[in-house]
Symmetry: C2
Subunit: 190 residues, 2 copies
Amino acid sequence: MRYEREHKTQTRDRIVRNTARKLRAEGLKGPGVASVMKASGLTVGGFYKHFRSKHELFAEAIAQAFSDSEKVYSSLQDVPREDRWKEVVRRYLSTEHCDHPDTGCPVAALAPEIARAKLTVRKQISSLMKERVERWVEFMPGATAPERERNFFVIFSAMAGAVSIARLLTEPAEREKVLVSVRDHLLHSF
Amino acid sequence: MRYEREHKTQTRDRIVRNTARKLRAEGLKGPGVASVMKASGLTVGGFYKHFRSKHELFAEAIAQAFSDSEKVYSSLQDVPREDRWKEVVRRYLSTEHCDHPDTGCPVAALAPEIARAKLTVRKQISSLMKERVERWVEFMPGATAPERERNFFVIFSAMAGAVSIARLLTEPAEREKVLVSVRDHLLHSF
DNA sequence: TGTACATCAGTGAACGCGCGTTCACTGATGTAC
DNA sequence: TGTACATCAGTGAACGCGCGTTCACTGATGTAC
C-alpha cells in the first residue's frame, strides 16, 4: 500500500497527540512504545520509521500537552477581557477538569515527574512555562505588569495544587470541597 | 551471625525510611528493590525476609513520608499558636524545601503519581490527608472551623502547587519568583 | 565444660517477564521501459 | 497499453537488558545434651 503525500506526517502527528493524552493519564513512565502505537491503530515495529527514540516522542508529546492546554485561550474570545482570568479559574477548578487529567493541564498531571526528567526536557518545559506566563499575564488581575505576574503565579499555583490534591482524594465530596474552597478564594480575593 | 532482639525491626524500619526518601527523590516508579536495599547497606536477596512484596514496602514508605513531614508540627512549640501557620508557609515555600524533595512534603513530590496508584494505596493516602487536615486546621487563620478548613485547602493548595511549579523551572531566579510571590500573597491575605 | 545441632538475617545466582530497539519482510501503488 | 521494478509505511518476530521474585546456601550464635 502506498499513501497520499500527507499520510506519514498525519500518522506521526496522531501518535504525538495520543501520547500527549496517555502521558497525562498514566504518567511519564506509564505508556510504552507498544501501547502508544496501539492507541494510534499501529504496531510496535513501525515506531522507528517516525521517531529516533521513545524519548524523542515523549519530549514532543509533553510540548504537545502544553499547547493542547493553551486552547482554552482561543475559546475565550467572547468573554470580556477583564473577566477572562475568572473564567479560566472556573474551568481549571471544575470537576470536569479534575476528572479528566488526560485532556487537562500537564502541570497538574505531571509537574513532579517533569521536575525529575533530564535537563534537556526540563529546559524545554521551562521555556514553555515562560511562554505560558507571557501569554496569560495580560489577562491577570492587578494594576501593574509585575503585580499581574505575581498574581499569575499565585493563581496558577493554587489551581494546580488544588487539582493535584483533589485528584488524590478518593471521596468525590472531599475532592469537591478542595476545588470549591480554592475557586471561591481566588474569585474573591483579587 | 546472630543478632540482638531488636535488630530485624530496626533493619526493616531503616529500609522503610530510606525508601520514603528515595520515592520522593526519584518518584513512585524510580527506585527498584535492589536500589532500596543497597541504600540500607544490604543486598537484594534479603528483601523478602522483611516484606511480602515491593508494593507492601512502597505503601508503608509513602505513609512514612507523610508522618516524616508532620515533624514540622512538633518543632513549632516555641512559636505562638496564632503565628504557626505563617511559619509553616515560610518553611514550605523556602528554597531549602524546594531544593530537597526527598525530605520534603510528599504531596508536592508525588501527588499526581499517587493519584494514579491502585485504589488501596489511594484510600490509605486519602485518610492520611484527612488526618493532616484535622491536625492542622486548628492553627489556620479564620474565625470559624469551616472557614479555617477552607483556608487550609487554599493555603495548602497554593503551597504545594508553587513548590511543584518551582521545581520544574531550571533557572533559580524563576523558581524563587514563584516561591516569593505565593509566600507574600499568603502571608498578607489572611 | 565440650560438642552437635538449630536458628535465622543476610547473600548472590537464577528465572521469567516486560519493554526498547532492531531487522527481514510485506504488499499496494507509482514509475520506467 | 502492458510488464517489471522501486518505493516505503507498516508488520511481527527476535534480541538484550533491567527488574521483581525465588531459592539454595552461609555463618555466627544460642541451646540441648
